[in-house]
C-alpha cells in the first residue's frame, strides 16, 4: 500500500513537471519543421509562471464558475495523473484505475470547462462550449468501447491490469483487436484533448475554435489552471497510450531502480509521442466542423469492430 501511494505521488509530481515540457516539445518540434527557431522547450513553464503573477480580470456578470471551473479542471486532471498506470501499475487500495471511474473523472473536467465557456455570457464562449460538449458526447462511446476491446484479453476493466497483461504477453499488442482499438483510442484522445484534426490549438479565428473559444474570457491564474489542466490531461492520456503501445519499463513491483526506470520510461514515451503528434499535426489540416462527427463515427466503428473482432479472431 505504501509503495503504491509513493508511486502515485511520484506520478503526480512528475506529471506536473513534465506536462509543460511536453507542450514545449510539441511546439518546438513544430517550430523547427516550419523553419522557425522556436521559443525553447521551457517556454510553457514561463507562460504559466507569468499568468499566476497577473491580476485576473472578470466581467461583472460572470459567476463563481469562472474561478471554480478552472480549479475543477485542474483537479480532475491531477486525479488522472494519480490514478492512471503511468509510472507503475501498483494498484491503490480501494481505488483501482478502473476505466469507467477514470473516464468520468475526466468528464468532470470536460463539464467544468464547458460551464466556464457558458459562464462568460458571450456568443463565442457558448459556441465553443456547445461544440466541445458535442465532441465529448460523441467521443465517449469510442473511448469506452476501445478500452472494452483492450480489456477482453485481461478480463478486467482495470487499466493497470490491462497494461500488465500486455507486458506479460506482448503478442496481444499486435493482435488485430488491439490494433483496431488503438487506432480508435488514438482518434478519441486527439478529440478529447482538442488536437488536430479535430481542433486547431493555435488558431486565432474565433469561428473555427473549439477549446480556445471557451477560455477567451479567462485571464491570469484562472487561465493558468485551465492551460495546466488541459496540458496535464494531454500528458496523462499520451502516457496511457504509450504504456498500452509499449508497456515495457512500467514498474510492476516496487524497487528503487524500478521506480527510476519507470520514471525515465514514461518520460521518454510521452516526449516521443508528443514529438510524433507534432510531426503528424504539421501534415494535417483541421477537419471541417461538420465532418468531425464523421471522423468520430469512424473511430467508433473501428472500436466496435475491435470488440467484434475479439470474438472473430480470439
Amino acid at each position: 500500500m505504501i509503495p503504491a501511494i509513493a508511486v502515485a505521488l511520484l506520478q503526480l509530481v512528475l506529471f506536473v513537471l513534465l506536462s509543460p515540457l511536453l507542450i514545449g516539445v510539441i511546439r518546438q518540434v513544430r517550430a523547427r519543421l516550419e523553419g522557425r527557431a522556436g521559443a525553447g522547450v521551457w517556454q510553457p513553464w514561463r507562460d504559466v509562471r507569468k499568468l499566476v503573477a497577473k491580476d485576473p480580470v472578470r466581467a461583472a456578470d460572470s459567476s463563481w464558475m469562472l474561478a471554480a471551473g478552472p480549479v475543477t479542471l485542474l483537479v480532475s486532471s491531477l486525479l488522472l495523473c494519480v490514478l492512471l498506470p503511468l509510472v507503475g501499475t501498483l494498484p491503490l487500495p480501494l481505488v483501482p484505475s478502473d476505466l469507467f471511474v477514470i473516464v468520468s473523472i475526466m468528464l468532470i473536467g470536460v463539464v467544468a470547462l464547458a460551464l466556464v465557456g457558458l459562464d462568460a455570457g458571450t456568443a463565442f464562449g457558448g459556441m465553443g462550449s456547445s461544440r466541445h460538449m458535442t465532441v465529448a458526447a460523441l467521443v465517449e462511446p469510442t473511448l469506452l468501447l476501445a478500452v472494452y476491446a483492450l480489456s477482453i484479453p485481461a478480463g478486467t476493466s482495470t487499466l493497470s491490469l490491462i497494461v500488465e497483461t500486455r507486458l506479460q504477453n506482448p503478442a496481444v499488442i499486435i493482435s488485430p483487436v488491439s490494433l483496431l482499438a488503438m487506432v480508435a483510442l488514438a482518434i478519441a484522445i486527439m478529440a478529447e484533448t482538442s488536437r488536430l484534426p479535430i481542433d486547431n490549438p493555435s488558431t486565432h479565428l474565433e469561428l473555427t475554435m473549439l477549446h480556445e473559444a471557451m477560455v477567451l474570457e479567462a485571464s491570469g491564474r484562472d487561465l493558468a489552471w485551465l492551460e495546466l489542466g488541459s496540458w496535464l490531461k494531454l500528458a496523462a492520456l499520451l502516457g496511457l497510450l504509450g504504456n498500452l503501445i509499449l508497456p515495457w519499463g512500467v514498474l510492476t513491483e516496487f524497487t528503487v531502480a524500478g521506480v527510476l526506470v519507470g520514471l525515465a520510461a514514461v518520460t521518454a514515451k510521452i516526449l516521443l509521442l508528443g514529438a510524433l503528434l507534432s510531426v503528424g499535426e504539421v501534415f494535417l489540416a483541421k477537419v471541417r466542423l461538420f465532418r468531425v462527427p464523421e471522423l468520430l463515427a469512424g473511430s467508433f466503428a473501428l472500436a466496435l469492430l475491435a470488440v467484434t473482432a475479439s470474438y472473430l479472431v480470439a
Partner: protein, 218 residues
C-alpha cells in the same frame, strides 16, 4: 516457434483485411480507395503465405506470390492508371460515411453470428477467422450498392472477390493453384474490360454516374 505466432499472424492479416475494408467505406477519394485496395491485396497475399508456411505446401506459397502480383500490384496499377486520366475522382455515395461505417460494424456482427451458427463445432484458428471473409463479402456488396461512380463500384466488386478468396483460403486451406490462377486472371480481365468501358462512357457522356445511365435504355 511458428506454431505460437501462427494465430497471431492469421489474426493480424485478417485484421488488416477488415480494417482496409472498413476504411474503403470511409474514404471517398478514388485514389485513396485504390491505395487501400492495394494494401488489402498485400494483406491477402500475406494471409495465404502464412497458411502456406503453416501447412508447408509450396503450391500455396506460389499462389500467395500470384495474389500479391495480381491483387496487390497489377489491379491497383490498372485502376490508378485509368483514374489519373479522369478529372472527377471524388465519390458522393448514397450513404453518408457515418451510417456507412455503422453499417460495416453491424455487417461484421451479422457475419460473426452467422458464422458461429454454421461453424459451431469447428474451433480451429482459421475457422475463427472465416467470418472476416464473410464480412468482406458483405462490405463489398455494400460498396456496390451505395457507390455511384462506376470506378468505385469496381472497387466494391474487388473487395467482394477478396472476401470470397479469404473465406476459401481460411476454410479449405487453399484453393487449388489452377483455380486460383483462373479466377485471378478472370477478375483481371473483367476489371480491365469494365474499366475500358467506363473510360469510353466517360468520354461519351462526361461521367459514369450509374444513376444517370438508366436513361440509356430509353
Amino acid at each position: 516457434m511458428f506454431d505460437t505466432v501462427y494465430p497471431q499472424l492469421i489474426g493480424l492479416c485478417t485484421g488488416a483485411l477488415l480494417l482496409t475494408s472498413a476504411l474503403l467505406v470511409w474514404r471517398h477519394s478514388l485514389l485513396a480507395s485504390i491505395r487501400l485496395l492495394s494494401v488489402q491485396g498485400f494483406a491477402l497475399a500475406a494471409l495465404v503465405a502464412v497458411i502456406g508456411l503453416e501447412e508447408g505446401e509450396a503450391e500455396v506459397i506460389i499462389v500467395s506470390v500470384l495474389v500479391l502480383l495480381v491483387k496487390g500490384m497489377a489491379l491497383p496499377w490498372v485502376l490508378a492508371h485509368e483514374t489519373r486520366a479522369t478529372t472527377r475522382t471524388d465519390e458522393a455515395p448514397r450513404l453518408n460515411p457515418t451510417a456507412g461505417l455503422l453499417t460495416v460494424a453491424l455487417l461484421t456482427i451479422l457475419s460473426y453470428v452467422v458464422a458461429s451458427r454454421l461453424l459451431s463445432g469447428d474451433t480451429s484458428i482459421s475457422a475463427h477467422a472465416a467470418p472476416i471473409g464473410l464480412a468482406m463479402v458483405l462490405i463489398g456488396f455494400l460498396l456496390l450498392v451505395t457507390r455511384r461512380q462506376a470506378g468505385s463500384q469496381l472497387i466494391g466488386f474487388l473487395v467482394l472477390d477478396n472476401g470470397i478468396a479469404t473465406v476459401a483460403f481460411l476454410t479449405s486451406g487453399g484453393v487449388p493453384l489452377f483455380l486460383e490462377l483462373g479466377i485471378s486472371l478472370d477478375v483481371l480481365l473483367v476489371v480491365v474490360i469494365l474499366y475500358v468501358f467506363a473510360g469510353r462512357m466517360r468520354n461519351k457522356f462526361g461521367n459514369t454516374d450509374i444513376d444517370q445511365l438508366r436513361k440509356l435504355h430509353d
